[in-house]
Amino acid sequence: MSDATLHDAQPTKRSLHQIDARTKRRNAAESRFKMLGIGAIGIGIAFLVILLSTIVVNGVSAFQQSFLEVPVYLDPAKLDKKGNRDPADLKKATTFTYAPLIEKGLLEVVQTAGIETPLSKTKDMKNLISSSAAAQLRDRVLADPSLIGQTVTAKILASSRVDGYLKGRVHRAEIAQDKNITVEQLDLADALIKAGILHKSFNLDFILGSDASDSRAEQAGIGVSMLGSFYMMLVVLVLALPIGVAASIYLEEFAPKNRFTDLIEVNISNLAAVPSIVFGILGLAVFIQFAHLPQSAPLVGGLVLTLMTLPTIIISTRAALKAVPPSIRDAALGIGASKMQATFHHVLPLAMPGILTGTIIGLAQALGETAPLLLIGMVGFIATNAPDGFWDGFVSPNSAMPAQIYEWAKRADPAFYERAWGGIIILLIFLLGMNIIAIILRRKFERRW
């Protein structure tokens, strides 16, 4: 190799113990590059922290609500003009009859507490009180007519503006244009707080209650739509788990390698990546337009989410089946079990923890999904009524948690935003719970072959 001399001359010897300038430069580039990676991860985690803390900061207040403790005299002269306590007649007294009683009660409280305020008419109290208070009091009286004639202490929802004032959402400087509250009323609210009549307390109705109309943000709760989500998840679980497991068993254990099987495989992997809104279009066209199933029904929502979740469940179930070693199948076949028996008696039980984990994760995905629900009509109305019975829950119009959150986000009154953030907290708690169950299942039953 005589022609290869040029490169043979040894470069001038350099000590290993001295780092040359070029190596220093290269090492600097190295640490810069590493910093880029750390930076990327830092940004990712910072986003997570910002997102979660935004949710908590904005949403926690939804779990607290402002209430007024007001003794209300249930005047028989107004509520029961005939004096016979006949329920049919009592129902004739509308909320318009009850509202002034509450306002009067509040005014009396103000006066007996010796609070100085220019507001001296019952009408002036109206803006402090939620318009739902009268309906609640009426329900109470109808349930127990013997209360009429007594003075009952009612825990009454404060109006959304007062609630916002207590929570720092409504400021004095900004209410000049607001018809629903005045500065004097806010002064009065301050005094009522001092007197211990107006206070914030835990708001169970937000978790269990139903949605309320546009003007009653203080009354809106997520309970009914939670029920809607529950029914949808029931449908998804009952349909997607067996169908998903059956499909996976066929593909993993029985399917011959042919074009039909390939077609199924291609379909599954593509369906997993189809945008969720397209499943909404499918639901609208097939279940509502064609099959005439009721709009806004959790049943339809469940069906759509089932189709959407199936690919996820199939993919994870197949992974779980694949993880069961062939020796188990051989052992069962070797003692004369049929292939079907080997699969159902031996392989499937061993794969079950993995299947359940995948199913729970699929369900969690379905629980948070919103877009397809918009198209099948699960938004745009007020989900006020709980279903009339277990079976009715599948077909009676309802919302779902994420759809309810969307609905609140779209409303004009910013008081609903707090509801939306609070709803997200509840939704995330459910998701967290499901994921924790999945992790525990995996940890507990994970088997290394």
Binding site: K34, P275, V278, Y406
Partner: protein, 402 residues
């Protein structure tokens, strides 16, 4: 209430069929199950299946054809009885009940697997029929080449898809511009630098971002990111001096939606890239280290070029996600269809318009509602194309190193 009656009757018949089949099998063997080909419970299961399955198929048919409730009950129950009677006659001492049951179960398994094909057919049909209907009412060229989107339910709408496509692509581009560098660098750090314990903490944390529902991101865009951007780029912000009255006029904008979507896609990009980088064989890294390359030189000049096809596939999958994302753009991007370059302006997307055209009170037969199906068709084809292409690239890439 026909459903409840049918359910109760079918359950009773099926259960009856099971015991009848079992008993008949035992009878034919004179009470000695050892003489039978199959266990008696297989005979029972066969009869139960033969009772239930035809009845269920009949039920679906009567529901689809909207027969009246009494007819529904009669047809299903008669179907069940026929199935029961016929299958019961089959039971004999040498009858291979187990094989028959297994064939039946296999049929069910195949049916379950075929549901994926049915779903795709359902999607395609529901899009195609309504799209054809739409193009009967509205010229196809105006839809694909129109630059105006001004639907009005009173008629005279302009329904050109271009402004929507522009908004979609613009927002997706911003989302990818955020997600790809962050996701990729995070993946590089996690797979090449991080110790096992750091990886064990950071990877799940990033994946939390992927588990958060899109409605949450939507709300975050609408109520947090939008107002924040407005306070910087809006008329009252520090940049207002550069542009006449600020670049941004409302919280909802391309930038708002794109930024938030980018955050959502970070874990998607990072976990896909992580898998792909891990698939690069260690021997290539060793070869590079053995020559005295530093880690970053190895990554930049050996690992990334080797992983490039896979990473391109991952980016395409992320792009398809971004294009199909709905809730973030519905809440964060605005409603105005616009062909503009300003990323701080409100624009709208294909998905957002599908929602708005189908959630109004519009008549389903009007072009204003039907256009949603054509938009859906466009979206479906676009994302399907991207997915197939991306999955193809990723698969080819995997095969290379297997």
């Amino acid at each position: 209430m026909a459903v409840l009656w049918i359910a109760v009757l079918l359950a009773a018949l099926t259960l009856g069929g099971f015991f009848a089949g079992r008993m008949r099998a035992l009878q034919t063997a004179g009470g000695d199950p050892r003489l039978l080909h199959s266990l008696p419970s297989y005979s029972g299961t066969l009869v139960a299946m033969a009772t239930l399955l035809p009845a269920l198929i009949l039920y679906v048919l009567v529901v689809v054809f909207r027969a009246d409730p009494v007819l529904q009950i009669v047809v299903t129950v008669v179907g069940a009885l026929i199935g029961l009677a016929l299958s019961l006659r089959l039971i004999a001492r040498d009858f291979r009940a187990r094989n028959a049951v297994e064939a039946g179960i296999k049929g069910l398994l195949i049916a379950a697997a075929s549901l994926a094909i049915l779903t795709t057919i359902g999607i395609v049909l529901s899009l195609v029929f309504n799209t054809i209907e739409f193009f009967r009412l509205y010229p196809i060229t105006k839809f694909f080449f129109g630059t105006e989107w001004t639907p009005s339910f009173g008629g005279g709408s302009e329904l050109g898809i271009l402004p929507l496509l522009w908004g979609t692509l613009y927002i997706s581009f911003i989302a990818l511009a955020v997600a790809v560098p962050i996701g990729l660098f995070a993946a590089i750090y996690l797979s090449e630098y991080a110790t096992r314990s750091v990886r064990g903490v950071v990877k799940p944390l990033l994946e939390v971002l992927a588990g958060i529902p899109t409605i949450v991101y939507g709300l975050f865009a609408l109520l947090t990111v939008g107002p924040f951007l407005l306070s910087i780029f809006g008329p009252a912000g520090p940049t207002a001096a550069f542009a006449d009255g600020g670049w941004m006029h409302a919280g909802t904008a391309v930038m708002t939606a794109g930024l938030v979507m980018g955050i959502m896609l970070i874990p998607f990009v990072s976990s896909l890239s992580d898998d792909i980088i891990n698939a690069v064989p260690q021997s290539l890294r060793d070869g590079s280290y053995g020559l005295g390359a530093t880690k970053s030189e190895t990554i930049k000049q050996v690992v990334l070029p080797a992983a490039l096809p896979g990473i391109v596939g991952a980016v395409l999958l992320a792009a398809s996600r971004a294009i199909g994302e709905t809730m973030i753009v519905v809440l964060g991007a605005g409603a105005a269809a616009r062909l503009s370059m300003n990323p701080f302006e409100a624009m709208t997307t294909v998905t957002a318009k599908i929602v708005s055209q189908l959630t109004g009170d519009a008549d389903f037969a009007s072009p204003e509602a039907l256009v949603a199906f054509s938009l859906g068709m466009t979206l479906f084809i676009l994302t399907l194309g991207l997915n197939i292409f991306a999955l193809y690239i990723v698969r080819k890439y995997r095969e290379q190193y297997e």
